[in-house]
Amino acid sequence: MSQQMSCPFQDQLWALWDGELASEEARGVERHRDGCGICQSRWSDLALASDALLSSRSQTVLPGGRAGVLRANLMDRAALDADERWSWWRRLLARLPGRWAATAARLREDPLCLSFDDSRKGRLEAEMSEVVVDYGHTARGARRRRWGLGLAGAVALGSLAGVWVSKGFQRSGKALQTDKRPQTSLVVPAPVTQPGNGMSLGPIQVLWENRTPRVMSLGPAEVTISRIRVARAKRSGAGWSADHPFQVFLDGRLRAPRGYVYRFAFGAPDSPVNGWSMSGPDAEGLGRGLTTGAPFTGFLLASEADLQGYRLHLKVAVLSAPRAAIQSLSLGPEKVGSALSGRTRGGGGDYPWSVRLLDLSAPGASPAEASLLVEEQTRYPEMTQGDLQGTNGWERREARSEGHLVRDASEPSTSTLTYGFRLRSPARPHGRVRFNATYVPAGAYTRYVGVLEGIPLTPPAR
């Protein structure tokens, strides 16, 4: 209620808070404040909020030691930048997220360095796969985006023209029925802000939820969905469309035998398994594996029809694939951004696999300066490695025979495929950056699908 009340001294109160009043005027406003309930309440609210912000700020500090690491990395980057001879390298670094750039900077100085700081290795390996995915979108992706933008522009112009024509028809008495969408049957309540469900998703405004745990047995896996939340989809979010204005968040846990890679898919019962939770051409290539026993949060977009009667109809799929080892590499005349292909053996079968090749050459560098390095790391002491050097359009040369890349898949779960690149030029020492990713062969997934019908949704308890 206090928010509804106002006081004519409000502006002066803000100015007093900001310390912008002359001393005499400030004393006058202070006198008013001390005698006015509204201003007192405002003032104490301001003080409380300000204290909270300041406390929060003082509690948010870099952990000890990290500042030094960041500073050293920054100095490395600055040193690189200062040396104009390394402009190609700087451009490359500009394409890498901060933490990798520093690693890359060190690698330039020590081109044969093959190991990262051990204390961070786990994280590096986990996160490098994201970089791999990023770099999968190379010039072709940019071109596609440009085409996409052009197309979107043309569609927008077409729509405008359509609206203009339709208005013209309406004015001339030949009205066109333009809106055939069904009427809204869901009453969307006022948003209730709930804490976020993890750092990646941020706060969401939950409209309805269901907290009854459901356990599904899907093949070798047991999926527990512990909480379902429905929120308004953010218009700025990827994949948003007016037909699917809701986001469904599913929190749960997967338990399944180790030695396999698992992925999830969620969707409406009549939608195909492929294409919802694993959008993108790399859906079955460089996968985002799910750790057995670890909690997950997945989400999908839903239409009003999917939530008819405040009930959610849901299809859940688990895709599992054995972690496989490379049996052989077969590299055709590769172009930047094309795919390697070959066959793998692991977990009791032969599967074709494909991996998108990365364009990591520095912008402006000629193909002769770039080459691809593929190596496989295992838990065994020996390391197998194939060195594929590119000259003039990624011509292939294997430094070691294919045989080195064949290994027994008796322990398939330990394999990590490493992709990297080498930039070379007669005038420059070699640099090397490694990218690690657990890979799953395309077509190797086995799909287990289950359907949950009519899960009741209720407004969240405040």
Binding site: R263, S277, S279, F299
Partner: protein
């Protein structure tokens, strides 16, 4: 010995002196880290973005005017870096389960920023979360404005420079942000006066 001012350090940095950049980093990284943490909510990303912001400062040093507020320039770079990061993050995680790396980050992020007793850590962690959640509800401009003005003590002119608007507009945006915080932050703070539940 007298500490060099920001202006002096900026002149030196513009001349290409790396050590000046290091000194500016030492001086401003705590504010930038806190600002970025409140914007992106991820300590690891905030670390990267701090480094990224200073790297961009170095790359764009020839465009820096040492007579103007370096702090505003830095916060502008940080804000842009954070916006890019959030956009990228939005693109990266559509329709997919969290990756192993993300899951690990979420579950294993140690709260190494805190010291003292576990209870103190818990309570202060709660306060940070409460503040961040309350800020998340605000439009991005208001969030930036109130953080800069209240937490970092920036002038309205600096806030305006960061937001790319006039000083008057910055004043209006900050005022709206404060009013919005009354309804988002204060009820939570009053709730939090109750003991924070263990997680």
């Amino acid at each position: 010995m007298q500490m060099p001012t920001d202006e002096q350090l900026t002149y030196r940095m513009v001349e290409g002196e790396r050590e000046a950049l290091g000194l500016l980093f030492d001086r401003h990284h705590p504010a930038l880290y806190s600002f970025l943490w409140h914007l992106v909510g991820d300590p690891t990303a905030a670390e990267d973005l701090v480094q990224e912001s200073f790297a961009r400062l170095w790359h764009s040093r020839r465009r820096v005017d040492p007579r103007r507020s370096l702090r505003a320039w830095l916060f502008t770079l940080a804000r842009n870096a954070a916006l890019n990061h959030l956009k990228r993050r939005g693109r990266e995680t559509p329709f997919t389960s969290l990756s192993e790396g993300e899951l690990r980050r979420v579950s294993e992020v140690p709260d190494t920023t805190l010291s003292g007793s576990p209870e103190a850590a818990l309570v202060s962690g709660c306060l940070r979360d409460v503040v961040r959640q309350a800020l998340q509800v605000l439009p991005e401009e208001q969030r930036v404005a109130v953080l800069l003005r209240e937490a970092e003590g920036c002038s309205y002119r600096e806030v305006g420079e960061v937001l790319g608007c006039s000083e008057g507009n910055a004043r209006v945006i900050t005022c709206r942000a404060r009013q919005a915080l009354r309804s988002t932050l204060l009820p939570r703070l009053r709730e939090e006066e109750e003991p924070c539940p263990s997680r």
